[in-house]
């Protein structure tokens, strides 16, 4: 099953399990979504439970808030990462705060699905890393799967959760295949996965770059004899700091890998946390292999702009050779 199919299966199974689950967004109905994620849902569940909206992202999220107030469990889709911005106010002002504002009386079991990140040669505004905006905003959970089976499981969990989840789907992994056992849950939201054990350097990452990190680990092992420990965060809020800490205690070195701009990217928070809590365990500073502080580049430049195996290995090497210069 591809990740696209796994997500589609999760939506199907969630809709089957609970008729309060409704799926909507731009082109998710008739067309089954521009990536075909929602293919078949309209014919299976009817157009009341899977429908096309007008071209209005704020409306998509705002209406979801209203539906949640009335007991539904909306799973809206925003067509691409960059189009969450018109809905920013509804997400930050309401989706994130409604529970607080109503003193816990109204939950927001809304899962906002967003095909996200770069790497597939898309046009402008289609490759944004938005996670900092959500993770900094109190009241949102932020989930980023990296494999089809996790995508299935984390999406089912997200839909069942009574909190709002921004569910960032790494488009560049949409066509990755894996055997997915339908109905089976992997680890819950809030639990990171150690994708490869190692004791040389801890690499913390998520989403589409988990594969990059694993590739780099293979090279590092073969060419340098370094054993990288690769941690896939799976959710950024809640953050499974314990798993990160256990690894850093072991390796003494940590590199964070993400593709969004470096300034105030997740690497900033992880570096801050790791040095705050594991200061004396560190043999070198926490380093960041990331995208740059520029707008996301045009398609032809993305492969050199994005952090790949080279940038990660350079950074790992800097960590390993760091000394009292």
């Amino acid at each position: 099953m591809t990740m696209v199919q796994a997500i589609g299966a999760a939506l199907h199974d969630a809709m089957e399990a609970d008729d309060r689950v409704v799926v909507f967004g731009e082109d998710v109905g008739r067309q089954g979504g521009v990536f075909r994620v929602t293919d078949g849902l309209r014919s299976t569940f009817g157009k009341q439970r899977c429908f096309d909206t007008p071209l209005a992202e704020s409306a998509i999220v705002g209406a979801a808030v209203g539906m949640a107030i009335r007991g539904f469990r909306p799973v809206p889709e925003i067509q691409f990462d960059g189009f969450t911005y018109p809905a920013f106010d509804q997400i930050v002002t309401h989706l994130a705060k409604y529970r607080s504002r109503t003193r816990g009386l109204v939950n927001m079991p809304v899962t906002l699905r967003v095909p996200s990140f770069g790497g597939i040669g898309s046009p402008e505004h289609h490759s944004e890393s938005t996670e900092t905006y959500w993770a900094h905003t109190a009241g949102l959970k932020v989930v980023v799967p990296s494999t089809p089976s996790d995508a299935y499981s984390l999406l089912r969990d997200s839909i069942e959760l009574d909190d709002p989840v921004v569910f960032l789907e790494p488009k560049r992994r949409y066509w990755a295949r894996e055997d997915v056992e339908r109905g089976k849950r992997t680890e819950p939201i809030g639990k990171a996965a150690v994708r490869r054990a190692g004791d040389t350097v801890t690499v913390v990452t998520y989403g589409g770059l988990v594969v990059t990190a694993l590739e780099a680990a293979a090279v590092a092992h073969d060419e340098h004899g370094w054993d990288l420990e690769i941690i896939d965060l799976r959710s950024l809020v809640p953050l499974d700091f314990d798993t990160v800490a256990a690894s850093v205690v072991k390796t003494g070195r940590c590199v964070v890998l993400h593709e969004g701009p470096r300034t105030l990217g997740m690497g900033a928070e992880l570096a801050a946390r790791v040095q705050e809590e594991l200061f004396w365990n560190l043999e070198a500073p926490v380093l960041r292999a990331t995208g740059f502080d520029t707008p996301y580049p045009p398609a032809r430049l993305e492969s050199i702009w994005l952090p790949g195996v080279d940038r990660l290995l350079d950074t790992v090497e800097r960590s390993l050779t760091y000394d009292h210069a």
Partner: protein, 361 residues
């Protein structure tokens, strides 16, 4: 009057009660059907006016951080809310004290919002009313989502979004009107056009012949109503609600009224509007008008005024009791309501803050 019919929408607001309390000979609407309801609406309007004054007093006494008075808009709010069922959802902006009282929301719970004890107030949701919503226009979309949910639940419910004239300029209100129309959602967009958005007059806010005219661009009915005529507001909303309940979709209503007081207790309206303008609207007071009609139509009896004053007094007392020197609430609650289960970060931060406070004691 024909020249007031612009593109099929009547610029002359629908009216049943003329400012002097006589009946306006309009549209053959039957006012007697409302006779058993008018006394209660009168009572609520009086209570609203008085409770509003108490809010202002409490703010002056430093008990509230801020208060946006609804003085002058009592008919628009009470008329509208009275035409609905208690299970119909209302999504207010922040100035809808009259509607809150119709719903029986505890004044203290409203006061806690303005005191700064809890954002959004307390006791709203339990009455099918959204929390006080300060981010202008945003709640209109919640109303549409809730209305769509009503259709799915087939609960016969109608949802009302209260919107200011200023709010109509926000993108969210446009998206809400359009989404409701496309889905024929049982939703009423109830615009209280009170002449001002803080200091911004209508001429800087829109150029349409009226706000009701915006309905045309969404393919829904639009109607102007005299917002100082409680009977007309009631009937226009009742009609829209009936239409919505039978699946005929949303309506945009513009209640033409006036904010007699400042925008909030922090505002000084003399910077931007004339006394003459305010005086002209004072003469159109919605409560006086209703009383005059009740008197003229034989519905009045002095016990009504007494009852109204007694209700008002009780509400004032209940507000004072709830907010005067009210305790600040617990900071721990802040952490507890962010998520259903706090994240590890929140657990740690909560403990950190409690430790800090403990140390301070």
């Amino acid at each position: 009057m024909a020249d007031l019919l612009i593109q099929g929408i009547n610029l002359e607001p629908r009216q049943l009660l003329a400012p002097d309390g006589t009946t306006t000979p309009t549209a053959g609407l039957d006012l007697t059907a409302l006779h058993d309801r008018l006394p209660a609406m009168y009572e609520t309007m009086v209570a609203t006016r008085e409770l509003d004054e108490e809010f202002v007093n409490l703010q002056r006494q430093g008990q509230l951080a801020l208060f946006p008075s609804c003085r002058g808009q009592e008919a628009a709010q009470v008329g509208c809310a009275s035409a609905l069922r208690d299970t119909d959802w209302l999504f207010p902006q922040y100035r809808e004290l009259g509607a809150f009282l119709v719903r029986g929301i505890d004044p203290g719970g409203i006061g806690l919002a303005w005191r700064g004890t809890w954002h959004g107030g307390v006791g709203f949701i339990e009455r099918c009313v959204g929390p006080i919503s300060i981010a202008i226009g945003t709640h209109a979309l919640h109303a549409v989502g809730a209305a769509m949910a009503s259709t799915w639940l087939a609960d016969g419910g109608v949802t009302v979004a209260f919107i200011g004239d200023g709010a109509t300029s926000e993108g969210d209100v446009h998206e809400a009107l359009n989404l409701a129309a496309v889905n024929q959602a049982p939703c009423i967009f109830y615009v209280q056009n009170n002449g001002w958005a803080i200091s911004t007059p209508l001429t800087d806010q829109y150029r349409a012949p009226s706000l009701a005219h915006k309905a045309i661009g969404y393919g829904m009915p639009g109607v102007r109503v005299d917002g100082n005529d409680v009977a007309a507001c009631y009937l226009v909303v009742a009609e829209a609600a009936e239409r919505a309940r039978r699946g005929a979709g949303p309506t945009l209503i513009e209640a033409v009224t006036y904010r007699l007081g400042p925008h909030t207790t922090s505002d000084d309206p003399t910077r931007y509007r004339s006394d003459e303008e305010v005086d002209a609207w004072e003469a159109l007071d919605p409560i006086d008008r209703c009383r005059a009609y009740l008197l003229g139509s034989g519905l009045w009896d002095d016990s009504l005024e007494e009852r109204a004053r007694a209700t008002a007094a009780a509400l004032r007392t209940s507000l004072r009791d709830a907010v005067f020197d009210a305790p600040d609430g617990s900071v721990a609650e802040l952490f507890d309501h962010v998520f259903v289960e706090p994240t590890p970060v929140l657990v740690a931060q909560r403990a950190e803050l409690l430790a800090e406070l403990g140390r301070e004691v």
